[in-house]
Amino acid sequence: MVKKTIYILLAALAVVLLVRHFFPGDEQKIRQQFTRLAGYASRPAGEKTLAGLQRASAVSRLFMDRAHIDVAEAGLAGEYDRQEIRTLALMFRNRFARLSVECVDLTVSLDRDQAHVTATCRAVGTAGGERVRETREIRADLVRGREDDWLFSGFAFVPVLQR
């Protein structure tokens, strides 16, 4: 009887996971965009130049054609088009010999075709032979695209500590 209950619970869990995987809701799609963004922003050791260009282009394709970016510590404030975002992504990634980016603690609030997300982003890597570890809280706005995908329309660092 107990074994049967465990099997039923495991089967139910598997069904839920499969449904979420193959039929993601809006929140799941938005979370997947963050996973993609972190994946494309990451840089494996020994990455080839062409692969770097492709990944920077992939980052830019996750954004709307014009997106508002506000990252004061990098001197970015204003609207940027995809071409500029690709260049920024390329410059950012090229600072590191190796980089791993991860977004955690996502809170998604949906408002029809718009979404507001807060998350914590961690970047761990090596630059100039030294280990780099940066953690920032981010706020992002996304809008539903033509193909029912979600694209970033705004991206900003949230100041947690102010000198």
């Binding site: 009887m1 107990v2 074994k3 209950t5 465990i6 955690v104 603690d105 996502l106 809170t107 807060t118 998350a119 914590t120 961690r122 570890r133 953690t135 920032r136 809280e137 981010i138 949230v158 947690v160 500590l161 102010q162 000198r163």
Partner: protein, 167 residues
């Protein structure tokens, strides 16, 4: 073929696989999850900003109930929430709301008086102009002042972001 439990293992360690045992395991798991996510939050230190108090790779515990009936005090080490509580910042409170804080040649001054900081070791040459901590905020700094000031995250933080006291 049925496996037999060796006599060296006490029977109470291997309860019978019945509905009651399953319920006990579930309740114990739930209680452990609640305790270690809502009361005592285990933290693995990733970074060197709190050295020598907390070394890179070491472990600490955040008491989330510490400030339920008490206010944060100067020199408490606190966990600071970011977007959630999976990744937090660890810093030490050096000044409270309304106080004026500054660094001169590595020495911390609060309201114009130098304060001894036994938890800080190593050379420090920080210079920071005086600033007053806003209401509802605290001024936090890491213990590792050997790193250049520009590379160290510190400053005023909202009281609401303090998750708890760390030890």
């Amino acid at each position: 073929m049925k496996g037999r439990i060796p006599r060296s293992i006490p029977a109470w360690l291997v309860p019978a696989m019945n509905r009651r045992s399953l319920l006990r395991v579930l309740l114990l798991g739930l209680a452990a999850w609640l305790f270690f996510s809502r009361v005592l939050l285990p933290l693995r230190i990733d970074g060197r900003s709190m050295e020598p108090t907390f070394g890179d790779g070491s472990w600490a515990v955040c008491n989330r109930l510490a400030y339920l009936f008490a206010q944060p005090r100067r020199f408490d080490v606190v966990a600071i929430r970011m977007a959630g509580d999976r990744v937090v910042l660890l810093k030490r409170i050096v000044a409270l709301a309304g106080e004026t804080v500054m660094f001169r040649k590595g020495v911390l001054y609060v309201d114009g008086r130098p304060l001894a900081e036994p938890h800080v070791q190593g050379p420090c040459n920080w210079n920071l102009a005086p600033r007053t901590v806003a209401p509802g905020r605290l001024y936090v700094v890491g213990d590792n002042r050997a790193v250049p000031m520009q590379m160290h995250d510190f400053g005023q933080v909202d009281r609401q972001r303090i998750l708890g006291k760390v030890w």
